[in-house]
Symmetry: D2
Subunit: 362 residues, 4 copies
Amino acid sequence: MSSIGNQLKITIFGESHGPAIGVTMDGLPGGQPLDFDAVLVQMARRAPGDGRYGTYRKEADYPEIISGVKDGVTTGFPLCAMIQNTNAHSNDYKNLRRVPRPSHADYTAFVKYHGAADMAGGGHFSGRLTAPLVFAGAVCRQMLERQGIIIGAHVRSLYNIEDDPFDPVQPDTTLLNTLNKQPFAVCNDTAKQNMYDLIATCRKELDSVGGIVELAAVGLPAGLGGPLFAGLEGKLSQYLFGIPAVRGVSFGTGFAATRMHGSEHNDSFTVQDGRVVTVTNHCGGIQGGITNGMPLILQVAFKPTSSISREQQSVNLDTMQPETLVIKGRHDPCIVPRAVVCVESAVAVCLTDLLLQNGLIQ
Amino acid sequence: MSSIGNQLKITIFGESHGPAIGVTMDGLPGGQPLDFDAVLVQMARRAPGDGRYGTYRKEADYPEIISGVKDGVTTGFPLCAMIQNTNAHSNDYKNLRRVPRPSHADYTAFVKYHGAADMAGGGHFSGRLTAPLVFAGAVCRQMLERQGIIIGAHVRSLYNIEDDPFDPVQPDTTLLNTLNKQPFAVCNDTAKQNMYDLIATCRKELDSVGGIVELAAVGLPAGLGGPLFAGLEGKLSQYLFGIPAVRGVSFGTGFAATRMHGSEHNDSFTVQDGRVVTVTNHCGGIQGGITNGMPLILQVAFKPTSSISREQQSVNLDTMQPETLVIKGRHDPCIVPRAVVCVESAVAVCLTDLLLQNGLIQ
Amino acid sequence: MSSIGNQLKITIFGESHGPAIGVTMDGLPGGQPLDFDAVLVQMARRAPGDGRYGTYRKEADYPEIISGVKDGVTTGFPLCAMIQNTNAHSNDYKNLRRVPRPSHADYTAFVKYHGAADMAGGGHFSGRLTAPLVFAGAVCRQMLERQGIIIGAHVRSLYNIEDDPFDPVQPDTTLLNTLNKQPFAVCNDTAKQNMYDLIATCRKELDSVGGIVELAAVGLPAGLGGPLFAGLEGKLSQYLFGIPAVRGVSFGTGFAATRMHGSEHNDSFTVQDGRVVTVTNHCGGIQGGITNGMPLILQVAFKPTSSISREQQSVNLDTMQPETLVIKGRHDPCIVPRAVVCVESAVAVCLTDLLLQNGLIQ
Amino acid sequence: MSSIGNQLKITIFGESHGPAIGVTMDGLPGGQPLDFDAVLVQMARRAPGDGRYGTYRKEADYPEIISGVKDGVTTGFPLCAMIQNTNAHSNDYKNLRRVPRPSHADYTAFVKYHGAADMAGGGHFSGRLTAPLVFAGAVCRQMLERQGIIIGAHVRSLYNIEDDPFDPVQPDTTLLNTLNKQPFAVCNDTAKQNMYDLIATCRKELDSVGGIVELAAVGLPAGLGGPLFAGLEGKLSQYLFGIPAVRGVSFGTGFAATRMHGSEHNDSFTVQDGRVVTVTNHCGGIQGGITNGMPLILQVAFKPTSSISREQQSVNLDTMQPETLVIKGRHDPCIVPRAVVCVESAVAVCLTDLLLQNGLIQ
């Protein structure tokens, strides 16, 4: 299913090389103002950029709102937005149909859809389908911001290059608000330059790299989520793993917590400005599956881009014979910078659903 | 919500110190034989053991089946199973009510339930609530095994002690079938002894440690899952994060994939015995959110046990003053060994739901 | 599935002749006081009575609360309640296994569950399974009453005997509050006596009759429900058709509206005490799927009881030969009086889910 | 929510006077051929016709497929279809904004959406939103027909004019296949002419009438549905009440069953061509919530059209003063003939979801 949500149900539709892609958002409350320019800022962050770190294809990515908004305000009816596909080169992908690209969805889609799936350009599995997600996130983000909730993320690491981590106890909201408008969100300028250089090298070497996105959300009320399968971690993960190329999701100190003692990892409570807070924030703002009012901190692992221009080994599904494959076209050697806004968007949509469930947005 | 599932809906109920805990399983097909002894083997793996690595409380954990099974065969009606609580010492926890234990759910539950939640012994957040999950997993596992699907897991690492990893391309099914009946599932005997020793040390030092559980499932058909939010990773995560103390979930090569190049990480296709397979299995058996027929490989990060006997800093929620806290009672310095069966169970329940959705179990 | 609900998920489990039946309620808010005696009053209304209109079996129907309530207050954790089965005579039903009773679920259950369903006494399809529904309704009703919402129903008709209908514009709340505690809720005493007599006649003639239950709910806020598939009518129907023997559900003027002109059926608006109200209430309090603040009015059609003691024609599923069947045991010649509380309960659970979704109960 | 479904999730979007309306269908299997002309036949049945029984507005109602279909075959990805709004006269409705039309959703939408809903032409509540439902039904119907399932319906009654009922035991499939392509589906020609005349009279008198639609579906396998809340009646109702103006839904003999004895209503079993069948079909093909292989028979009650051109009493929501209202524009004095295809469509989408859940379409 390309649908998710309880009180805010979204369905993402479209194929990479079809006429358009888009999203329906069912459950938005009425009367919410929508700043369309702010939406476009987010769309631009995901779109491939100046060639320094992204692909060279120009995608307009202009969302046309079909329903659910009137005079710049949500009506309460389902919002449908569409993005025309204007610049697809289906020839580049044609020979791949029966020779699945390694680590893409070509083979599994072939099995699942009995060969009927339109996999040109990756079809419905294409990274391009994150554009409607970013649109939905941009809409939700505005509602969250009116609740005092700020979401920001950055490239925490690219291959072995590390950016400065967020302060988990008190992330700098000015920094978050700067990062969450940038196309290449990195805190440390040197790290950023090194990442640029690494990506450039990868492009030359017809290779790709992965990385980690770290996100912080501040301003969340305590009490969101619940025990067992209602835990916020599980709910967020279902949205985050909806982004292609995600291989892992962790919260707070994440996998590093497995190499800590309880005496070190436990977050002591104290009182600050009349409010219960924790001294450290190893839990990343979630205890027992429920927000504790501290910043939400999470990490998302992205594998290296599967599309590389080197020769690879595959199988021809018609002849069942091994076949050497070279993927033509221009490929993004590292999607992590563009994935930052996708991670923010997935989290924004998830949190909006949760706030609606809790009657906190009406 | 303590409920999850689409075609197989499970609801876990009960509190740590109430009369009983249990689970309802709605959607099981009729006519499935149930080996009750095999269920008990799984229940025993979760129960605290000989004091070497678990707590000392003796929990009978004997599941009584109230409905849904007749003459050892599922009827197709909802299965309800209950486990009596026989050995709870609520005094041990009484003083904790208004002084939340660090990194437990005490504080967040207090906020969410307006102070009404019965948090004695951790209430519904207690690790004891994994017993009904293990029961449900044991039921599902038997159905999966009849489909040729074998699930096994082990303590991949405990603090800094590492076990031998599974072979991701061809995990040893004999090994999996041995591990998935053991209370302390570790492949390498030396590593196992070192883990025992570390836990003993932690107990002496009134501290705790975390670790990583790695799981392999073999025999899954290709084609399970789907694009975007239907991805198997997101669905599994929602089940896995339902286990208390989980801080991260990753698939295949996991977070290590972020430090790889595409040329290294991509899984080439080849043909083996007339079947399309991958030469490596960095993707952990999932491509584009869909199983590719290779072994499912995943990792689950557990934080160190929050209950430690050392003095800790907290806040009295009545007076809003800082208060020093010592948690009495006996605590499990490392829940990772007992968590192995929980991870297997969560995966078994999730995969059963998915097979039912796909009409593969009827 | 025997599960339903969004923010309040209930699962009903158990078989007629198994050890116990029960219900889990997941999503109840914490801190809600529960008057257990008031619950028992509702349970008694459903239980077979003095032999004048019900069966002769004595069913204790005492609900034991396993979890979710502490010191008479909900904890916010899943509530599980069980009712022991104490007085089942499985012999009475034994010969029916392979000779399905006409208009029962015996045949369809045989097909669906591959013959594995435990259909003794009707199994999970038995009318007895409405006992957990009435329990759940009794819990919900108390929360609704604290919101000023009163639900009452009566036997609107039994065969051709009609009770006085409710005033749809202003139902008498004193009457509703009297009816909703009675085992045989009828407004008009003469009609009630005639119904008693008709049931007595049916019993003598080894036959059965059906009837219509009419329900009114006052105090609902305007604005609950939504367009299309979010309409309150569809949501209520899913709960109401969960009661065995229901053949139709209608709202307001119901099927009679099909023989009216718009000029007669349309409900004009006016202002009363500063509030918008309708002059008539043909719509039964729902316009465009959304409550308008007027009383909710609905009707539920019950077929005549399928269990009759006369000789009937069926088929032996083993031999596939026609076979004459006589259903032994004592049967309720008319379940409509006992169904009144079931209808009220289904509506109470549904409305509670809706209020929780709208953040109106927290 | 304007979304429904489990394995086939549909979301209907758009407003009556917005740029377009449409539907997303998520969960369609891949590889299903789609006859677009057959879809247009169904769309035409819903569209207002020659003025004899419908409104005079010409609505093109041409569905444009955005995604999910390639070369006339479903891909397995979400199908999105849009219908442009070409002929709306928003002036006709402008003065209604603050003076709600009686028995429309104007008032309840005003309350629910805080006045933000775009209610021009009825907004998202407009009967026009059934066009995407009919599209979805037309797609599903083709899949069902390939499974041997035929759905047909007719105007069972219009005000007090009755058509010949379907034979519940053996509906004429030739008749069903004729009716399910007609814009005004009535079996008896005299009844049809009388209905035409009645509608013409209503138009002259600026009034409207309601009626009942009866549906039959043949070819359904036995075993679909389940006990309690999984019952087919409840599931179908949720789809059927999604159609505007529906006031009641009943199955088999429906409300008339309440005036029958069990000895008359019970459907005896017999064997025919080696198959278990019932001699009568009062249950309408559903026993215990599960199909028994006999024809599915159901009735849907439609109230008289709320839009009438007579002067009506309402309230100005700004001034809270009574106000007389005349609804301008041309109105359909009877939507029942056009509702026939909507009922068929709702049932087709519901049954497809159910067959997908049961693995019967893959």
